[in-house]
């Protein structure tokens, strides 16, 4: 194994925190929606590392659906926020 699981877990946890900070302060809502998709992806990897494959599967599916909902919502408001 290239990386020990605990290191991988730590890396993805840090990624989650970094993505959250970016989402809080970003201005381009469409780009942030795609970044939110990355959030859901890293959460999925974390679930797999924790051995919860069922939850990871659900997270992957729901990540797609929420991204589509967000994009439809953004289409009806302005793309950038102040």
């Amino acid at each position: 194994m290239l990386m020990s699981p605990i290191l991988l877990e730590g890396a993805f946890l840090l990624l989650l925190i970094a993505i959250t900070i970016v989402i809080i302060f970003g201005k381009d809502l469409l780009a942030l929606t795609i970044i939110y998709c990355a959030f859901s992806f890293s959460a999925m990897i974390l679930y797999i590392l924790a051995g919860a494959a069922d939850v990871a599967f659900t997270e992957a599916v729901i990540g797609v659906i929420s991204t589509v909902y967000f994009i439809i919502a953004i289409k009806s408001i302005s793309r950038r926020c102040k």
């Binding site: 925190i17 900070i21 809080i24 302060f25 924790a50 494959a53 069922d54 599967f57 659900t58 599916v61 729901i62 797609v64 659906i65 589509v68 909902y69 439809i72 919502a73 289409k75 009806s76």
Partner: protein, 261 residues
């Protein structure tokens, strides 16, 4: 402008302060939290052992998650399904006061021009939709053996419909479900679930006691198979409800959104 930046800086400092405090608290008391894989952690000492030892024998489901969700905790899942249904109905109620946006009728050629702008995407989605639908049915039927179950299968079916709906150049092959129809179908899903729960009461069983479904089972092996049948039936209910609810919310929002294409 200057005040805005000042405000922003205060916000950033505030967020980092909260994150630092939360992480600091976790680092201060590492001994109070159980390790991730600790078998002696309090949450793992109450029922886990019973489920691990007896779930296959009790329910016949190889996937322990499905056994707990659909069999031991079937009553909880029933009301989770009801919550999905209520979410869809609520979206319909709240947004139905807003007028629908009338969209001009367009020919297929025109729609192809205003679509995502590529024939490749169009063809790619045509290929991927049937695969998603087949995978959804696989996840549904295989729920008690491997990953997945009703909720995931319903969401996958809804994704197939979504793709079909939001690619404008697509001649919608799955049809165009009205939002009211979708809400009714979601209700039918909950009805299937409750009906499955009521069936054992025709014999001598309790609500959702799959082992006493009135299909004539005598031996222990047959009763175990009945559990599998019960799980499959309620998961069909969950699939119908989840799929219709997601489509319902999608349609409610799509019909009232103005796209500048």
């Amino acid at each position: 402008m200057n005040m805005d930046r000042n405000k922003d800086r205060k916000k950033i400092v505030g967020v980092f302060f909260v994150i630092a405090v939360v992480i600091g608290v976790f680092f201060l008391f590492p001994d109070l939290l159980p390790a991730v894989d600790d078998a002696k952690a309090p949450v793992h000492t109450y029922l886990s052992d019973y489920y691990i030892e007896n779930s296959l024998e009790d329910t016949g489901a190889h996937n322990m998650v499905t056994a707990v969700l659909a069999d031991y905790r079937g009553f909880d899942t029933l009301f989770e399904t009801c919550v999905m249904f209520l979410a869809g109905v609520t979206a319909l109620m709240v947004l139905s006061t807003t007028a629908k946006v009338t969209k001009p009728e367009r020919s297929r050629k025109e729609r192809l021009q205003i679509s995502f702008g590529s024939t490749v995407l169009d063809i790619a989605f045509r290929i991927i939709v049937p695969v998603i639908v087949i995978y959804a049915f696989y996840v549904l039927v295989h729920g008690e053996l491997s990953l997945g179950g009703g909720f995931q299968a319903g969401a996958l079916l809804a994704i197939a419909y979504m793709i079909d709906r939001i690619i404008p150049s697509f001649n919608s092959s799955l049809g165009n479900l009205k939002e009211e129809t979708a809400a009714v179908i979601a209700g039918v899903g909950v009805f299937i679930y409750i009906l499955t729960g009521l069936l054992p009461m025709a014999g001598s069983g309790n609500f959702l006691e799959y082992g006493k479904l009135p299909f004539g089972a005598d031996t222990a092996e047959q009763i175990r198979q009945l559990h599998g049948t019960g799980i499959l039936l309620i998961e069909i209910g969950v699939v119908v409800c989840v799929m219709a609810t997601i489509i319902n919310i999608l349609e409610v929002v799509l019909e009232r959104t103005e796209f500048d294409d």
